[in-house]
Amino acid sequence: MKIAEIKILNRSGLHARPATRFVQLTSKFKSSIQVCKNSKCVDAKNILKVLSLGVDHGDLVVIKIEGADEEEAYRNILDLLLNTLPVEDR
């Protein structure tokens, strides 16, 4: 299992658009992926569950990935949250 603790850097947190990007990415992998905030964990492939977590700019989240492609998922998810999304928002 791969676990990462990440501070959310994009200005609008994981809301509609960024959450969609996140879910579209996580859904590409076979591994089971969870996203957690304040020790509440939800299925990272379900947009409604991700939205209801209320992840905002500056929040700490934990990503848990388990499965055959966990290495690749880990790399891609971190890249999206730490690089792509923060660069895209202005």
């Binding site: 200005r11 609008s12 947190g13 809301h15 509609a16 658009r17 959450a19 969609t20 990007r21 879910v23 579209q24 379900n46 947009i47 409604l48 939205l51 209801s52 977590l53 209320g54 905002d56 700019h57 500056g58 928002d89 202005r90």
Partner: protein, 582 residues
């Protein structure tokens, strides 16, 4: 004429007739119902129709909004996926199943405690309403709305409705509910449609077709305005729409005069969502974070709430300064949890006076929260409101020191502390304040300062023509005070409305201001003016404006000098007070 004061959600000016729009935001479903044999098919068909409709929208919207459509489709798919499971397990009809799923997530989003996510609940409602329309075989979404050139007045709008209304050619929006970071507000800003949120149901009782001015700069809706006002605003609207793109470009640049003086243009904000938007509009930081809103409830806020607000706002601005003003309660903003009755609240228990009076209930928790937030974000600065005597600042500092000791905070020397100069006493006595250790900056609050110098209530309509921050006595007090402050090594800022007025900019610069804090809607306008001036050509104005007879002479002096510059004079004239617009 009726004037509604509200929140400016999208800048710009629109003048037109009202179209009231009854937006349905509740899901109507039968209390009890059975799934038909085709229930799952009905659901799938509705989803397919919804997707088709959304892909049609893709053709008419900006590239930047396309991922919003994708988000909506994904939300729809996920909602229906869960609704399907309910139908299979319980035999409920599709409408009720969908309603159950929706309600479950609305509750979860509400509980998440994020203001932004609460605003985004309308996205889910939007998706669900559309699906239900398709399930019932209604084709409302394809209706052509006749709204060309209208100003929409509604309780609330959804993004889907926005797209339809936009396609129908609306000119402006007024809603009762919503926020500056709701999707509708974001879309309105993207498409340049002026939008004001008026949080009062009264606005819904205005008559259809009445004339209205939507002022998305000041956050005002004026119903049935007199013809002079319409004329004034029409001129503003046409100049601003002509120059809108130019001003927007300037917003994201550094403001530098033609002769090389860098001017920091910070913003005044009043909440987390406000800050989120301001941080994308070119503000060089926050010169005034008004925190009074946190105190407008039946209890003082707890420290977690305060720390959360301070750190979130600081986080949006990363390496830029964020000045938090200790709450200026009392006067026109008495907190509901204190019963203060005064004959003359503007001269009463307010600002620092109130904070010292209620030190254990209000001031100490505030200071503890500030220091804890500062430990995470040292771009935060602290400012004290409504000071008149140095002893008040010393008392404040003693409390700050004792709170710091309590929580083991050792870096007090690094915290930048400032006072707001908004009383004549503090302006005149600034050299005495300058001797206070730890005091690093002063910020002129010109609204109250002008009221107190001129003895004019700025909210009294009978005195409208008497209240003007450019009256020479006001400028003299400010000018002399700034000079002394600079001589004593204090940093000097201004956060009153004067700094958002184009005609005042050359004067403020020659008086010595290099840091302005303004209404975020004006960042482009003010940076544009600064960037097209040569400061040394205005130096001679200093003596002249301080010795002018009145404010209109002051404005004439500025406008006369500005004629030699590449600044569109219409902008100055439109926003000036004593000159009639062009």
């Amino acid at each position: 004429m009726i004037v509604f004061k509200g929140i400016p959600a999208s800048e710009g000016i629109a003048i037109s007739h009202i179209l009231k729009y009854q937006s349905k935001m509740t899901i109507e479903a039968p209390q009890d119902c059975k799934a038909s044999e085709r229930e799952l098919e009905r659901l799938n068909e509705a989803l397919e129709k919804y997707k088709t409709h959304m892909s049609e929208l893709l053709g008419i919207i900006d590239e930047s909004e396309k991922d919003l459509i994708q988000a909506y489709v994904l939300m729809a798919e996920t909602l229906l996926y869960e609704a399907r499971e309910i139908i299979e397990n319980s035999n409920l009809c599709g409408e009720l199943a969908l309603k159950q799923v929706l309600e479950k997530y609305l509750v979860l989003m509400e509980e998440s405690g994020s203001e932004l996510i609460a605003l985004r609940k309308s996205d889910l409602v939007d998706v669900s309403l559309a699906i239900l329309e398709y399930m019932r075989g209604e084709v409302v979404s394809r209706d052509k709305i006749t709204a060309r050139d209208k100003i929409i007045v509604a309780e609330e709008l959804t993004p889907t409705l926005f797209f339809r209304l936009k396609r129908a050619g609306i000119k402006g929006i007024i809603t009762v509910k919503g926020g500056v970071t709701s999707h509708v507000a974001i879309l309105a800003r993207t498409y340049g449609i002026p939008y004001v949120i008026v949080p009062s149901l009264e606005v819904l009782s205005v008559s259809d077709n009445a004339l209205v001015i939507v002022d998305g700069f000041e956050g005002r809706a004026v119903i049935n305005p007199p013809s002079e006002l319409v004329e004034e605003y029409s001129k503003k609207a046409s100049v601003l729409s002509e120059l809108g793109d130019v001003l927007k470009r300037y917003a994201y640049r550094v403001a530098k005069t033609l002769d090389g003086y860098n001017i920091a243009v910070l913003c005044n904000i009043g909440g987390i969502e406000d800050a989120r938007v301001a941080s994308t509009q070119g503000c060089d930081g926050v010169g005034l974070f008004r925190v009074e809103y946190l105190y407008m409830s039946t209890h003082p806020p707890n420290e977690d709430v305060l720390i959360n607000s301070f750190t979130r706002v600081a986080g949006f601005f990363e390496n830029k300064p964020v000045v938090i003003r200790a709450p200026d309660l009392g006067a026109d903003k008495p907190p509901p949890f204190l019963s203060i009755r005064e004959d003359n609240p503007l001269l009463g228990l307010r600002g620092i006076r109130l904070l010292l009076e209620y030190r254990s209930e209000i001031l100490k928790p505030f200071l503890r929260s500030f220091l804890k937030a500062y430990e995470q974000y040292n771009n935060l600065k602290l400012m004290i409101p409504m000071v008149t005597k140095p002893s008040e600042v010393y008392e404040f500092l003693e409390l700050l020191e004792s709170v710091a000791i309590d929580i083991g905070f050792t870096d007090l020397g690094k915290v930048e502390l400032g006072i707001m100069i908004e009383t004549p006493a503090s302006a005149v006595f600034i050299d005495k304040f300058a001797k206070i250790p730890l005091l690093k900056f002063v910020s002129f609050g010109t609204n109250d300062l002008t009221q107190y110098i001129l003895a004019v209530d700025r909210t009294n309509p009978k005195l409208m023509n008497m209240y003007n921050e450019l009256e020479p006595p006001v400028l003299r007090v400010i000018g002399e005070s700034v000079e002394k402050a600079l001589k004593h090594g204090l940093k000097v800022e201004i956060c009153g409305e004067l700094a958002s007025k184009p005609v005042a900019i050359p004067i403020l610069l020659v008086l010595g201001f290099r840091i302005l804090s303004i209404n975020p809607r004006y960042v482009g306008l003010i940076k544009y003016i600064i960037s097209n001036l040569e400061l040394k050509q205005f130096e001679h104005l200093r003596e002249k404006v301080l010795n002018a007879d009145n404010a209109s002479v002051v404005e004439d002096l500025v406008i006369g000098t500005l004629r030699d510059y590449n600044v569109d004079l219409r902008l100055i004239l439109l926003f000036s007070k004593t000159r009639s617009p062009i």
